[in-house]
Symmetry: C2
Amino acid sequence: MTETRGYHHGDLRRTLLAAALDAIEEDGSAVLSLRDLARRAGVSHAAPAHHFGDKAGLRTALAIEGFDLLAQALAAAGADLLAAGIAYVDFAVAHRAHFEVMFRPELYRADDPELIAARGRARAALRAGVATLPTSGTPTDTDRDALAAWSIAHGFATLWLANALPDRVGDNPREAARAVLRRLAT
Amino acid sequence: MTETRGYHHGDLRRTLLAAALDAIEEDGSAVLSLRDLARRAGVSHAAPAHHFGDKAGLRTALAIEGFDLLAQALAAAGADLLAAGIAYVDFAVAHRAHFEVMFRPELYRADDPELIAARGRARAALRAGVATLPTSGTPTDTDRDALAAWSIAHGFATLWLANALPDRVGDNPREAARAVLRRLAT
DNA sequence: TGTACATCAGTGAACGCGCGTTCACTGATGTAC
DNA sequence: TGTACATCAGTGAACGCGCGTTCACTGATGTAC
């Protein structure tokens, strides 16, 4: 960490992304300053522009990474509604900075091809996780049920992160999420 | 609108709140500048401090107003899960700036007594709306069911506002929300 | 193994800008008598 | 109805600050021969 480094950083791109995640977690907002990130990375204030161009570019990179992490987490949960829902909430809590950026498309380049691809992978994983939801059968119903499942997981995660839930819900997001998701799964 | 006004504005407080709502809706973020609001209100840049002190004060006022509007909307929907859920989503879409601020407590004074009171009224109205949800009976289950209902309405509203839903969901939030909420109500 | 050169990553000074805050002020309103 | 005075709302100049961006630069790395 405190090792001296030469003129070249080695992996400044990665370091800047990590600094951005720290900054977002600290003040709970995806609004950030490139000069602040440079300071955190111990690098001159003009360096970030080399890698990302501007803030939107940096946040696009974070969103892509976030959608891919979410896709992986959902895939690991398998085709099981309860497991997928818990994985979704878990992801939001463990990667709150990513989560925060992903759902603020006005802050990044939502038309970036890599981003669209990553978001597609996350959506596909989500659909797979919801596939086992008991449904009445027609395609419309399946769509509606998938949307209900996504809404309940996303809503719970969002309320949790916004600190909007009453104290009585406790401090274990996994457990609380499981109880809530069961209501839909049965 | 373009009428001349004297030295005193008349209702600058109200005008500044309205300007803040406009600004938040325009760029989708509760981050705002007091100088910008003063410009929108046609008033000197030092005037806002007179009424709100600082940005957190102004956003606290917006959050209080938002929670009261939500409480009213829910009360009007009555003790009916489907109606309450639709009213919740409707409120979020019709008052997206209020909604945005309300669930970003790090941006306002969450310990303000008036705010806590207004939030309490909104929560009580929410509980009343959820009271008719079919449940298995124990108090724990009721809590869980209420949380599930809140999550699904909040999640749908949030995804809608974030423009995160696939196009196929359509452009009528009320209808789409009704279909999703039915999944829980039955 | 050695040299020359192109490419690339990071530097640091400079710029103009919008911001929040302070402060002495001015003009309007309301109240006491 | 009139006058004096206190209170309050809004002004405008000034300040220091952090920001994004530009630009000529420097130092390191990689490649051709």
